[in-house]
Amino acid sequence: MTDKRINLEVNGEALEASPGQMLIEVTDKANIYIPRFCYHDKLSIAANCRMCLVEVEGANKPVPACATPVAPDMKVHTRSPYAIAAQKATMEFLLINHPLDCPICDQGGECELQDLAMGYGRDVSRFSEGKRSVKDENLGPLVSTDMTRCIHCTRCVRFGEEIAGIQELGTMGRGEHMRISTYVAKTVDHELSGNIIDLCPVGALNNKPYRFAARAWEMEQRESIAPHDCVGSNIYAHVLRGVVKRVVPRPNEAVNETWLSDRDRFSYEGIYSEDRLKVPMVKENGVWQERSWEDALEHVALKLRQSGSDIGALVSPSSTCEEAWIINRLFEHAGSADLDSRLRRTDFHDQNNDPVYPSLGIPIAELEQQQGVLLVGSDLRREAPILAHRLRKAALKGCSVGVLNAVDHPYLFTVADTHIVEPDEWCATLAGLVVAAGGELPPALASMSNVSSSGSVDYLKHAPSLILLGQMAQRHPAFGTLRYLAAVLAQLTGATLGYVTDGANTAGVSLAGVLPHRSAGGKPRPEVGHNVLSMRPKTLLLVNVESVTDLSDQIDRNAIRQAAETVVAFTPYAPDTLLDDADVLLPIGTWAETSGTFVNVAGLWQSFTGVSNPVGAARPAWKVLRVLANLLKVPDSDYESSAAVLAEMRGHCESALMNNMPEFVAPESSLAERSTEISELEVSLYQGDNIVRRATALQKTQQASHERPAALVSSSTVEALNGG
């Protein structure tokens, strides 16, 4: 195809464009501002607000810049009296029915309509008739509505149809009676639904939990990284007097584009949960006592010293690199390798096949370019909504997507190859695909029953293609076999093998060496320690782990609890479960209160600083761990900043490459030792970590109500109930 360039002139400035480009794209790129409401570069063109009218020489009327393709030698004026008159006239019409209730509107101060009314509005209205009013919709707990303010740009409607994939909002009626509505009373349930708040150029759709909480101009905007999935979406926290009032996306085309999942947007409410732990506490003779930080840390250091190398740690995969690094150093100093961050995994027999750090295998943006993708045990919309959005984009462009799962989840695009079988059949199904692709099964798997070679994975042979092991696959009791088969299939078809990992920083904590078999940078440990299932240490550290809900069902918590003389929990919260199970509670800051670094699923290192004031006496976990390291005389542990910790860690990770295909060792047995149920593998959208579980608005959503446990009961209560 020849790339013919078109020359045109805007406001006397010579510009170049490609055929088919709309005028507004060209002027935006050249930093020539044209006012607009309905145009959005991620959405289709509607041309219904008419705010972007400009003058084109030779045209007999003003034309909308968003819907006018460039033409050779076009002469455009965006600021001529003719253009401005058209823009002002549009603004006058838009304001006819707008309530002008800016003083009580949350959008006030950051409102596109307000801003443009400053530039193009009249100071006195000529409209003396009655304004219309529109009944509000109840769109659920996340998005508030004031539909009288709506100017019918239809961005929210197009977002539903084009980006989310479920059209939940539509335009009802016509003319003066037109309104945006769900028609039947219905909440908006998509996991990216909060983005319509950002898209709405007026105050019609707003942030419900944030309603009347602050004014835009009072808050400070601070950069951070979202902590709830492996994408590491870039965010801004909006902070008022040290308190996070809301979270909005920070555009980054390589990561989250301009979108943000509801989980990342609304989780901040969890920071201010009522069960925040405000001071260090130590249990003495069964009674909790408040302690100073010095006393509590001395106490923990004493216990650790007394336990020698008989210590263990369960570390959340959403811990920062800095926290993970100091934990690794503490354990190496103590001579223990009983530390693990793979809290929901249950099959470790092939852990030497683990990559140095599990990753997508490709940059996130390249997900869109895939020609074929096979999802093995992944509920992608819950695991990583942003990745699901990228995959949907690929599928709409023609990528063939195959699915191996136990439940036929709605993916919101056409799935080309569906294998819905019980989890116990996953290995056999995948083996069938290997055989269908012309591969041979290793001896240990040859005897597997139910292998059907009738499937076809030819779509994976069109490069680039990807086989993704989801979180459900990684929790599967035969994960090793699944992974081996997926790797063989990847080799046969030329596909890349990738993972969708748990938590925000599985890659980072793996690189930091919070694993029983690997130290920093993936270096094998001389002596392999106990994993999350087998460790029974004398002193156990829980880092951002609430013992009941963050661990796999397969972990024998009672055995761990009975073996441990001391359980030290580094936690922002003090739920009943920890009050029962732990002996020491150390209040650490959430992501908002600490600096740190997450390595996302594409191997991108993203550092962030604390954005809000700590709650109570909570301290950043890396600082708490550093003091502990100092007390235990870990050499060279006088880090002055989190950046110093990170620099030391990165020094050990320079040779760590994104490579999910080490020399695979074939499994020695064919099947899992135990059967599994889908309920054991399922991924939750709003139960995944301690902060999300406490985000009140998210917990009121339809999706949360499906997955919330009926009751959280601590192990001692269960024992009491059982008469034990």
Partner: protein, 169 residues
């Protein structure tokens, strides 16, 4: 696309299929207006959420888009109304030829106001019908989407009597 649907009668499906066949393959949702007409007629004058859902399923399109179409066009009724729909044009040409009197007469005779249905469910008087392009024979009205022109109060009475008889059959 579905070929059967519990909510849609056989002759409604046949009518929808006839319209679907007029559009290129994969563009079956273009038949939504005709489908809504058929369904509304079959349901004696109005649509329900269930029926719109059925049309959406039958044409394999998001139900919200069916709602949009039904809400946009004034010939679709989305809440229960009388079986016989009367639309009196009151735009300028008809107004100059006495449409206000015609409307008043109908309201008095049926004992309802614009936008209301009679208690027996026979008649529905639509609100403020816009110009129906029959100005040359004003005043005019529509009964069940059929034009009647050059109206007098006497002619209106005859029309209403005939419609009532038709309805009782």
């Amino acid at each position: 696309m579905a070929t059967e649907h519990p909510m849609l009668s056989e002759h409604v499906r046949a009518e929808i299929d006839r319209w679907v066949a007029k559009f290129p393959p994969g563009k079956q949702r273009s038949a939504v207006i005709s489908a809504l007409h058929a369904v509304q007629h079959d349901n004696r004058g109005y649509l329900t959420e269930e029926l719109m859902q059925a049309v959406a399923e039958y044409l394999d399109m998001p139900v919200i888009q069916v709602y949009e179409v039904a809400a946009f066009y004034s010939m679709f009724e989305a809440k229960p109304v009388g079986r016989c729909s009367i639309s009196v044009c009151t735009n300028i040409a008809c107004m100059l030829r006495g449409s206000d009197e015609i409307l008043q007469h109908i309201e008095n005779r049926l004992g309802i106001k614009e936008g209301e249905s009679t208690a027996d469910g026979k008649f529905y008087l639509r609100r403020e019908e816009e110009c129906l392009a029959a100005c040359n024979n004003a005043p005019m009205l529509m009964i069940n989407h059929k034009y009647h022109e050059n109206l007098t109060t006497q002619k209106v009475d005859e029309l209403l009597d005939a419609a009532a008889t038709e309805d009782s059959k």
